[in-house]
């Protein structure tokens, strides 16, 4: 896999840093986040690997993984991290970026009526829309 300066300095990495408030460079890959994660067994790439791929600018590896959707945002990783990196925040930032991508949203405006009728709480709909706003 080629590693280049452009890839390391991609704007999406900066977005992730801004949205999550976390600096992935701080991580030294001890793996404690993965060791602490209660759902890591179901993930295709492990939490510390998510951070590693981001350090190297390998975004596809992260965005195509099921890991970011399996993350339950329990924040155990954040509580255990010796480098004070909040991996849960990073996971959320990745989800937000995917959700905000035009054309790939799972919730479309015209479907809102339908999901209401299926019993989705209003709070859920509002939250979903919040993620559209850029």
């Amino acid at each position: 896999m080629k590693v280049s300066t452009e890839q390391l300095r991609s704007y999406i990495l900066k977005d992730i840093a801004v949205i999550s408030g976390e600096n992935v460079v701080e991580c030294y890959q001890c793996g404690k986040c993965t060791a602490a994660c209660p759902v890591s067994k179901a993930m295709d790439i492990l939490p510390h690997q998510v951070v590693r791929f981001l350090q190297l600018g390998m975004l596809d590896e992260v965005m195509e993984s099921n890991t970011i959707w399996i993350c339950a945002s329990c924040f155990t990783c954040a509580g255990r991290c010796p480098r004070d990196v909040d991996v849960a925040n990073i996971m959320e930032a990745l989800r937000v970026i995917l959700l905000r991508k035009r054309g790939v949203s799972r919730l479309k405006t015209e479907d809102v009526r339908l999901v209401f009728s299926e019993g989705m709480p209003e709070q859920g709909v509002v939250s979903a829309f919040r993620k559209f706003a850029r």
């Binding site: 896999m1 080629k2 590693v3 280049s4 300066t5 390391l8 600096n23 460079v25 701080e26 030294y28 890959q29 690997q49 590693r52 791929f53 350090q55 190297l56 390998m58 590896e61």
Partner: protein
């Protein structure tokens, strides 16, 4: 009949837990020559010792056997106890029933039997113990420091500041060593030259330091307090008293050869000063490349010298001097990379070693501190550093860690980013080792503030592609192969011992390890001493280390040398070899095996049937002998005995155990 006293120590439960003390005492009472047997919980305590002292007087004991811990632990203690009670200290014998018995056995019955056997052996030996008197040897109050890098400079300054005369011998034309080649130092980024050159000047101007540059130690004889050393002052071909260091000769010399100081990155002249801050600031003619010495023509330097200092007739000078102690600070080399073809060193000008990088980024270096690709003189954008080139590599390199590479590579990453903010540094590592004050913080700063990208894994191949270098590596953290188009590749070559380290060690009678680093007397408790008394070590000649450690070790070695020099005389250990001249056949096999060069031959005039016959004999220099006993094993007629470990004594022990 001897009057032997046996004292059995419990050592708390250390001995008493495994050995039946009462049974041991009962058995000892019946041993031949034993007139008194005692026991106590801690024989080494003041109460235990006073019990021994009182008993010696009361029972008029003439030999002591202390059954306790290893003699390494408390032999000296109990010898002092005996001396305090008026008994010759060498009449004390230790039976080691702790390390050799209670600590290594579990079954009490068997351990008790063994303890009794050990004591029986000690009693049998003690009966043969003789009174020995430690002699005195004078100490020459001058030190020799070999190698004038930062270690030698520091050691020489410390010894000289204590008021002793120091001769500092350096092989190259200038003092300064490796540290003079460096740009900045981790983790403070102090300019290396700025902190080193004042010390170099201090050495040159110190009233107690004699500097011998372009000189080599050729022969070392003698022993602690009295080393006889021959120093070869190589012909500099310059009259040092006349030369003003103006440098005209350097400009006019027509011959150019690779500059050793600049790692061959630029040329120097055949007449040269290694670097501008050199001490002494006097050129030297490299006779192997000088046209005058090769062809008998030229003599340009002689013509242009305004001080008439050039002297082609100068010859090597041999100095013979006496020293009390020697500090060895000969430094290190870097591993030759011929074995590592995958990194392409030597095949492409942009693949360089860390030491070459150090010269390139150095303001006083060949490019004036401008880091350029040697292929096209452009500033590199993407720079790949590779750790552990030859280090931690038992197959083709060295199995040890070179210790400083992690830190200096982090330093290089920081220096690069500061100088060229648009550059990108990639570092391949196996582990990042940052044991040291402020080291981890420094490394993290390189990552977090200076954007160095670390890959956990090593490069498998570097090869040119167009005007770039394609680097193929792996990041084992993400299990992804990594490819980088680099402008420059920097290899952290392993530190290794000097090529001639083993020869130097042989000359001095000290040891080297399997990698030819000099061996310290004890890795923890005697880290700057060698097995040869009076010879001390400092710096990377003893093993890879950084500047702060080197300076600390140099100070420690100096302190040891000062302790030695501050004594007018030394007490010699009397447990040395002695030759029975009546039995010695003069075969001199002992000379061959003596590792301390303590045995020499002598001739003895002897009257045989009215005629004078000369007999060849071995004689032992008691000051040089370290009491190893090799000669006693080599001596076929059994003429050499080690005092306190004579053949009689050893056989008595064996008999006592076996019979």
């Amino acid at each position: 009949m001897r009057r032997i006293g046996v004292f059995v120590c419990w050592c708390g439960t250390n001995i008493a837990g495994t050995v039946d003390i009462e049974a041991v005492v009962e058995a000892a009472k019946k041993m031949p020559g034993v007139v008194y047997t005692g026991e106590y919980k801690y024989m080494c305590s003041e109460i235990g010792q006073s019990m021994i002292r009182d008993t010696i007087k009361k029972e008029q004991l003439d030999r002591l056997v202390i059954a306790s811990c290893s003699p390494r632990m408390h032999e000296a203690t109990f010898r002092r106890t005996a001396a305090a009670a008026g008994l010759n200290p060498y009449l004390v014998e230790i039976a080691n029933i702790r390390e050799h018995c209670s600590w290594v056995h579990k079954e009490k019955e068997k351990a008790t039997t063994k303890a009794i056997a050990l004591i029986r052996a000690a009693v049998a030996k003690a009966a043969y113990n003789r009174e020995l008197v430690a002699g005195e040897i004078p100490v020459e109050q001058r030190a020799l420091v070999i190698g004038a890098g930062i270690a030698g400079i520091q050691a020489a300054l410390d010894i000289a500041d204590a008021g002793f005369e120091v001769d500092l011998v350096e092989r190259t034309p200038s003092i300064g060593g490796r540290m003079a080649q460096l740009d900045k130092t981790f983790p403070t980024l102090d300019c290396s030259a700025c902190i080193l050159t004042p010390k170099m000047v201090d050495v040159a101007s110190h009233p107690h330091i004699n500097l011998y540059t372009y000189s080599e130690v050729e022969k070392v004889e003698g022993y602690v307090g009295n080393f006889d050393v021959t120093i070869r002052k190589k012909a500099r071909s310059i009259d040092m008293s006349r030369c003003t260091g103006c440098g005209v000769c350097l400009e006019k010399c027509p011959i150019k050869v690779d500059s050793e100081f600049n790692e061959g990155l630029i040329k120097r002249k055949a007449i040269y000063i290694p670097f501008p801050q050199a001490v002494p600031n006097v050129p030297v003619i490299d006779r192997t490349s000088c046209r005058w010495f090769k062809k008998g023509k030229c003599a340009v330097c002689k013509k242009v010298c305004p001080a008439d200092a050039v002297d082609y007739e100068q010859a090597d000078e041999l100095l013979e001097k006496k020293y009390g102690g020697i500090v060895l600070t000969t430094g290190f080399d870097t591993l030759k990379l011929d074995e590592f073809g995958e990194f392409g060193y030597g095949k492409h000008p942009d693949i360089i070693t860390s030491l070459e990088f150090e010269r390139l980024i150095n303001a006083s270096g060949p490019t004036g501190g401008k880091l350029v690709r040697l292929s096209n003189q452009e500033i590199p954008q993407n720079i790949v550093f590779i750790h552990c080139v030859g280090s931690r590599d038992k197959a083709r390199g060295k199995p040890y860690c070179s210790k400083i590479c992690c830190m200096y590579t982090a330093k290089h990453a920081i220096l690069l980013k500061e100088k060229y903010p648009h550059s990108q540094t990639y570092i391949f590592y196996i582990d990042v080792r940052t044991g040291g004050k402020e080291f981890e913080e420094f490394h993290r700063r390189a990552v977090e503030e200076y954007g160095a990208v670390y890959f956990r894994g090593i490069v498998g191949k570097v090869f040119p592609e167009g005007d770039k270098l394609l680097v193929q590596g792996v990041d084992s953290l993400s299990s992804r192969t990594i490819e980088i188009e680099a402008d420059m590749v920097v290899l952290a070559a392993a530190m290794q011992a000097r090529d001639d380290a083993a020869e130097v060690a042989r000359m001095l009678g000290i040891g080297v390890d399997t990698h030819h680093f000099f061996v310290e007397a004890h890795p923890k408790l005697r880290p700057v001493e060698t097995h040869s008394a009076g010879i001390y070590l400092a710096g990377a000649c003893q093993g890879p280390k950084d500047i702060p450690e080197t300076v600390a070790q140099a100070g420690a070695a100096a302190a040891k040398a000062i302790v030695l020099l501050s004594k007018k005389t030394l007490i010699a250990d009397p447990c040395v070899s002695e030759v029975n001249e009546e039995i010695c056949t003069g075969c001199l096999a002992c000379i061959q095996v003596c590792p301390y060069k303590a045995i020499t031959e002598k001739t003895l005039d002897q009257k045989v049937h009215g005629r004078v016959v000369q007999r060849l004999l071995a004689q032992v220099n008691e000051a040089l002998c370290q009491g190893c006993g090799s000669c006693t094993a080599a001596c076929r007629p059994g003429a050499i005995n080690l005092k306190s470990f004579s053949n009689d004594q050893i056989l008595a022990e064996v008999d006592a155990v076996c019979l």
